[in-house]
Homo-oligomer: 153 residues x 2
DNA sequence: CTGCCTGCAAACTCTTTGCACGAAT
DNA sequence: ATTCGTGCAAAGAGTTTGCAGGCAG
């Protein structure tokens, strides 16, 4: 899903839930969907303010749950204290995150059989899975050889 | 690994690292290894204080990394803000966590092929995996049928 | 107009840290 | 005797919330 239909989906979700379509929410949406890598709430605040400088931190934090609930953003928690977000661009299949500990970057990879695995594992406990996540921490091969990660910021 | 050899492993790890064997560290160790379910730092503080009431929150937080680095405890982050810990009882194979959203309990299940999967996925990016985790959120079947989770606290 | 939405700042939760005292080696 | 470990309380990071005023519907 590219940005235009996603924007429409967002407006539709808000209206259908009885929520209001405000300039701040739209600015936050646009800021998020112009990102190509994972971003934090704080980064999103900066991006959104460059579109509409009236956006506040509180509104960013109040809007993020709306965008994750409406399946526009994926929330990624890699256990570093802050959460990361990424626009969901169509492929809403199962994805795994690979976190490079050298360049601190997060890569997403489709993980088709994850869902089956979650079901298998859960059914043994009498549980029905609602979501699953696979996260891999990894070293950069180039970094280990040359001491420099080509992707490092 | 049951508690006695684990305790010895802990003492050995401390000594070998030039760290001191204090009553507080031993109390925290014992408190942790008498637990059968996942616990938080705050809960561990309570348990440890019932053994040695001089134990402080700071020391618990300073001791937890020592116990995870020495592979005595596994740290589990399910994205709820606080971290959970569980004694590693011998089977240090790959495990996945299944989090029941009804009873808030965390179950651990061996996930033998997780490691292979992490490698496969990472090598495509030129990365070498160092660790991986699979977490499944699930509903309790009994809860959905009867409105009561048999395992709920 | 009505009531949700907003920005601000304070509050909150979990964890970390500076300091002076105390205990292990 | 050294030096590391400790408790206390304050600081820190990220996120949430109470409130009075503002704007969407």
């Amino acid at each position: 899903m590219s940005i235009a239909p996603a924007r429409e989906k967002f407006r539709h979700y808000l209206t259908q839930k009885g929520l209001r379509v405000t300039n701040q929410r739209l600015a936050i949406f646009d800021a998020a969907f112009n990102r190509k890598e994972h971003f934090t709430a704080e980064q999103l605040l900066d991006y959104a303010r460059s579109i509409d400088d009236s956006v506040s931190r509180a509104t960013v934090y109040r809007t993020l749950p709306i965008m994750t609930e409406s399946a526009l953003l994926r929330e990624v928690d890699i256990g570093t204290g802050e959460k990361f977000y990424l626009p969901i661009l169509g492929d809403s299949t199962q994805v795994a995150q690979v976190v490079c500990v050298d360049c601190d970057r997060i890569f997403e990879i489709s993980a088709p059989f994850m869902e089956w695995y979650g079901s298998t594992v859960s059914s043994k406990l009498g549980l029905t899975p609602v979501s699953q996540r696979l996260q891999v921490s990894a070293n950069c091969d180039t970094f280990r050889k040359t001491g420099t990660c080509p992707r490092r910021a």
